[in-house]
Symmetry: none
Amino acid sequence: MSSSLDRIRIVLVEPAGALNIGSIARVMKNMGLTQLVIVNPQCEVYGEEATRMAVHAIDLLEKARIVPDLPTALQGCTRVIATTARDRAIPTQLETPRQVLPWLVENDESTALVFGREDSGLTNAELNYAGRYLRIPVGSEYSSLNLAQAVGVCAYELQMCMSNIDPDLPNVRSQIPQQLDIAPVELVEGYYQQLETLLLEIGYLFPHTAPHRMEKLRRLYNRSQLSPNEVALLRGILSQVRWALNTLAPQIGKRS
Amino acid sequence: MSSSLDRIRIVLVEPAGALNIGSIARVMKNMGLTQLVIVNPQCEVYGEEATRMAVHAIDLLEKARIVPDLPTALQGCTRVIATTARDRAIPTQLETPRQVLPWLVENDESTALVFGREDSGLTNAELNYAGRYLRIPVGSEYSSLNLAQAVGVCAYELQMCMSNIDPDLPNVRSQIPQQLDIAPVELVEGYYQQLETLLLEIGYLFPHTAPHRMEKLRRLYNRSQLSPNEVALLRGILSQVRWALNTLAPQIGKRS
């Protein structure tokens, strides 16, 4: 029987600890998660340490997809949550697992929960692929959670979302307005690329300011969870601006 | 500064995995738990494997109490919860961490949360010391959780209890930065007006299509709850497009 948890990808970006990878496979299988995607692993995924910790989840480890970069890992996903321990990096709300994870369970499409490197987490560029941000609450003294523990806590919360065994839980699903049709990451990425090209061309961005400003724009649009129609609408505006510049300002056309 | 979590003992009965003990020390310290009690350990508590996993929680490992049996570990405790993966052994209700753990936090006396052996859990005799019983919900296929993961999930739930109970403690709420200030309606309206004017000018909108399309754009931007800075960013882009058209396409400038 396929459950909603089958549609949730657990994405690890450049993990360096083989013990962690094995532990993660085990706790994923414990909690009913099946899709493990590993971006550019920095350790052995199928070696002795990982299989030792995976125990009866070696099948999940063997089925894990290894991909070169995060965009590849996220292809086809309509909802992406990034985990972070930092608050300064993100000028937006950080949510607890309990607040944000129902968002992955409640729809019928592919979704992803992304975890960063053991030592340095996710880069700003990687964080920008996400629509929402998760931080596991910790005590103040020692805040750096082990990667496998972080995945474990989230896997547990996802399992709790699935099983309606806790009558005290507010029904989070019904609190979140349904957005019917969300564009997959690669479609939105096409818009960002077109936007950046145009903004460079008209002198709003310069190569040295582009990453920082684009980051702000990505967050703004990611928050609103664009539909495919909206992406087409926004791209249509850019094309029309481009047309106006081409037709009416041939100088710019030549410069590009 | 002493929190209720200081009064909760995490009791491990005959653990055999040194990696587990190290991981447990780390996640306890992460979550603000301080009292680790180990009953008759079957592995090295202070060896290379445990300290490797403890990372910055070696102090907690060094303070761990080693005792010969469970009654010694529980001396002075008024509330004891035992964890189990089995339901047959217990002639009483099994509760989820979320249901049962507030019971340990809400009083002012010493309490304990007891975890059994990695392979065989707690004996019936040991289970009998507890007043309530906890089972972590899992998917059906592979139900055996790693010991450190089980402690991690419970430590997380205890931290979540604390966050809810004592508003003066540094808790999850104060750790979460508030959503950036949201721009007032009139500020966002200024952006919509500027956008509509430009889109009419470049021929993307026509007077008869403008209301319908602008409605779609308004919904898209309203969903993301723009901050004043973001409104300024978006208006800056429009101004730059206008500048490019004015400077490089004087025909458009004249037409407007």
